[in-house]
Symmetry: C7
Subunit: 93 residues, 7 copies
């Protein structure tokens, strides 16, 4: 992996709606206030202001996250988002 | 269950007013600042910024929650809401 | 009781001014920034973000609370308010 | 006493300027951002969000408090104010 | 002394510029964002929300404080200011 | 090194997009809300308000940081940015 | 020294750009959001709301600080600034 997020940050690769693992949650999520993504890299936990936070998500997890959170970055034609774990609502099992 | 909420988040399935278990609290609640829902999934507790919070609600509980809280998601024709436990006002017994 | 408030929340039944137990505090309170209510249900204490708060009010107490606080709910023709204990100013003895 | 303030709240009876015990601080205080009052009832301390605060004022104290703080209540022709102890600036000796 | 400030509050008697002990810091200070005052009374420390703060200033100290901080009070023709110790920038030696 | 950042501050030398070590993340990053930089100096950790924060970045690291964070400084024709570690999103490996 | 800053405050004497010790960082710094100053007096540490902060700067240090921070004071024709240590970005070695 090229990017190592710091503290409680997580690198996400947003998924197109039709790629969602369980085949659920698709239309509304994609247009609304949340989005589905795959976890690509995970920080070591804690926060940048010294709080003790453990990481609950791991690489490969499919997650639901707040749409307006994070910073988008691009690698050629791929798009990623760096969010804090607090912007992740749930893991899609 | 398909979604595992993180930390103190809770997955709710909002109920139509007439489905309320006790048959109470119906009209005003449905139009006002709170709503009734069934708890569908519950996070493990704690918060995303490291606070120690235990979960008081459990799957199957019927709860009253703040209407404007949370993020709505859809699964086909079903609608869910992901809220933080702090947005749940009371358990309906 | 039908509703079990969470954490430091309290279920109140607002009183009409003339019902006040001690016969005091009536006119200004009812119009101003505070109101009188009877405590109908009490949470177990603590807060939804992990603070340690004990409950000082109990079921049956008559209290003075901040008028604009809380969420109103209805049960048929009865009206209740769910507030946090921090919105209760004083117990009327 | 009819009202038992919760936590760090204090019930004050504002004084007319000419009633001030020491005969001091009168004109500007009464018109400006602070006011003089007599302490009528005192909470047990602590705060509604779990902080540990001891009460420094006691019933009978004459105090200087922030004019715009608190909630006014009336008992017939008497007026009281419920403030938090943090709104009290000083005790008048 | 007539006023006993609570917690980390301090009673100051603002000085006219020409009265400054060291004869320094005069013109700009008096017109700008800070002012010189003599400490007249000091609270016992701590804060109204339970923080542990020790008092570094003592009665008689000449201090530089934030001009827009505090509450002004009058005693006849004398003017005082009640500030929190956090509004005091420095002690003038 | 000429500048020793305090606490959790970090001195960064922003990189032109084409200089990025891994050859990735270039176009969007450079125009968007994040930027790439080389770490030139690192504070000792902790924060200016007493929080305990360890430094995860070290001199020589290439990092992704929030574009609008920090204070820009110049040394002749060289430009640097002083940011807090919390403004660094990830280390580029 | 005439002024003893309280807690984490620091008395700075801003330097004209050409006086900078290392001969660096001059033009942009002087016009931008940061400035160079010499440390003239240092508080004992801690903060006015009870946080534990140690002082990292000492008298004689040349520092880079946030331009818009602090309170300016004058002593005749000399100008000083009182800032909190958190407004100091780095020590110039």
């Amino acid at each position: 992996m090229k990017l190592q997020p710091l503290f409680d940050r997580v690198l996400l690769e947003p998924k197109k709606a039709e790629e969602s693992k369980g085949g659920i949650l698709l239309p509304s999520v994609a247009q609304d206030k949340s989005q589905i993504a795959k976890v690509v890299a995970v920080g070591e936990g804690g926060t940048a202001d010294g709080k003790d936070v453990k990481m609950l998500v791991k690489v490969g997890d499919e997650v639901l996250y707040s749409k307006y959170a994070g910073v988008e970055i691009e690698d050629g034609d791929k798009k990623y988002v760096v969010v804090r774990q607090s912007d992740i609502l749930a893991i899609i099992k």
